[in-house]
Symmetry: C2
Subunit: 412 residues, 2 copies
Amino acid sequence: MSEKISPLAPVSLPIMPAISGVKLGTASCEIKYKNRTDVMVAELAPGTIAAGVFTKSKTASANIWWGKDAIKHGRGRGRVLVVNSGNANAFNGKCGEDSVARIVDACADLWDCSREEIFPSSTGVIGQPLPDEKITSALKNIKENLQPNSWIEAAKAIMTTDTYPKAATRTAIIGGVEVKINGIAKGSGMIAPDMATMLSYIFTDAAITHEALQEMLSGAVEDSYNSITVDSDTSTSDTLLIFATGKANNKPITSVTAEGAKDFKEKLESLMLELAHLVVKDGEGASKFISIKVTGAEDKRAAKVIGMAIANSPLVKTAIAGEDANWGRIVMAVGKSGEEANRDKMSVWVGGVNIVKDGQLNPSYIEAEVTNHMKGQNIDIEVYVGIGNGSHIVWTCDLTYDYIRINADYRS
Amino acid sequence: MSEKISPLAPVSLPIMPAISGVKLGTASCEIKYKNRTDVMVAELAPGTIAAGVFTKSKTASANIWWGKDAIKHGRGRGRVLVVNSGNANAFNGKCGEDSVARIVDACADLWDCSREEIFPSSTGVIGQPLPDEKITSALKNIKENLQPNSWIEAAKAIMTTDTYPKAATRTAIIGGVEVKINGIAKGSGMIAPDMATMLSYIFTDAAITHEALQEMLSGAVEDSYNSITVDSDTSTSDTLLIFATGKANNKPITSVTAEGAKDFKEKLESLMLELAHLVVKDGEGASKFISIKVTGAEDKRAAKVIGMAIANSPLVKTAIAGEDANWGRIVMAVGKSGEEANRDKMSVWVGGVNIVKDGQLNPSYIEAEVTNHMKGQNIDIEVYVGIGNGSHIVWTCDLTYDYIRINADYRS
């Protein structure tokens, strides 16, 4: 399937530094695709700390169950990450667990480490047995050819119908020591005939305990990955993993509030937000990147529910695709969210222009003022709901003909 | 805006009998549309019992607040229903309440009844003052020309971008006495630049108390109107009203479980389901009518949540538009619903063919067996989730290019 590159793709790929303690390798195993890489391995130095956040889907893949258990019952360590595209190893019954076990065993043998230090991820079609022998038979060669700098190649190997590789980097200072954070992600492209996944892997040379790393990761997820939506559908395989090699030799961070943690935490959050935005911008058929800020809600939770009701409304998303500042649909979506809103105090801004004021059309609103904004690629919506002090921002993309084409017509 | 008639429209309109105690009238008031009727009045005999169910939207229109109050604080009586299309009288601040008050006052004067017996409804664009004088000045003439048989004309006057009028009729027997039930509805068409509403009005000559009527109506809503979805968006104006004139002179029904209530209740439920299905079949851009049955859920509530997760999934809806039996997306939607499901016991049927069995692809599944079903207009999906005995059915339509065209491109 050849897709044109998203019009929202960044103009250039970032230059990613090496991270001490991390080596990368890729291979073409023909799991489903031909003539491209489809397996990525990250080798992590012994002692690397791991933390993760996984899909809440009730039909999660075998890999998800393995990852959750490994983080929980292992000691939060990571030695090898193995990711394949082309097959999600999901909803294929006992097959899925067997494939995970074989990949984990092969890695544990080859790297001579405990099984709980191995993290296998799969993305692609579901309901098919994973031809895991294609992966395990390639591992030895991959291991012999690992490189510290092949970040973009790694990001490419995990793509499914993503139209561009997603990577970001940050530098943070911990107690005067510079540490690096690199992240790669794949987005919500779809693969005929099945489903998408959001996968994201972050690597740092910072020294940090598992508990502090897990808390930082879980905390930052809420305002980044958990605040984006393309089409409201949740994958069976969503995975976010972070690995900290400790090779920067900073004074180890032992808690989120520890001295020296602040800059690292901020840079981690900033990197996660950048990756999350890159995923939205490669949403299927996306032509606009939409930021929705909700203020005046009962609390932050309520603000997020309202924001997501707007972001997931097909009527709002199609209006934006049509470059129509259809504030009526925004108001409708607030109403259906189920959260408290004071109709007579509500205000709506689009592109900074105050369209609705105190529950009715602003008398001084001139539609032409919003028209140019609607023609741009970045659409900013703000809604004040007049109840309390809760606020939150969510991000989404528009709903276009191309979304339907990609998801309905790919067999024709 | 001229729309082609939905391919799912019924082949003929029903022949609607008169209902003793109900007279209908329509007028062309040019509230927004030209060259069509846009106001409908139903005059109800003195003593007519009223019951209603209204949108839960937090940004509901002034008409909704009036209707809720009138049912609650009046004595559940109805004398006049006045419905206009072209303007929803929603989100226009104090204007909306003033318009409602003027319409109610004019009707109460003209029909010499209490204000709580007047039910004004509005559907169409939001955020604009309703030119209510166009309605009130037409009332006298409408009243002088009321007819007992103009049901289809009434259904046409309340249409917005509906592509066909929606009406249904039933006959029930209460203690040996024949009673009639007629219903009309309008669906989820959209009006540039604003929003849609689901409006439905049911009339019967049965004698029944307000309490029994309200309980029957509220009970039947759950399995009909509240089990359909076009695009998950909730209107500010959704209204369902029922009026019982008592002119059939049956022994009055005093409770849902009273002797003689059973047939009436069944026929009412059947009529409401027919109207609800007519609304889905006129969903914007709909080319397929989709039934989704969920069994084996924790309880009925959980089954409905799972059914709605499938019905509202853009990925499921686009797959069906593409005539693709994409069971992976159905499984994904079950997973994201948040309700319990046993992955290893799940089964999925499409068109009666068992695709997924015990959590994996049925080894004897042959895709060609489902292909013909997918090409038809009626798509049947059943999912067993392996937890308990809860079951529920929901209905929706597919998501097509035409949905995007109608909602994004109408300004171009």
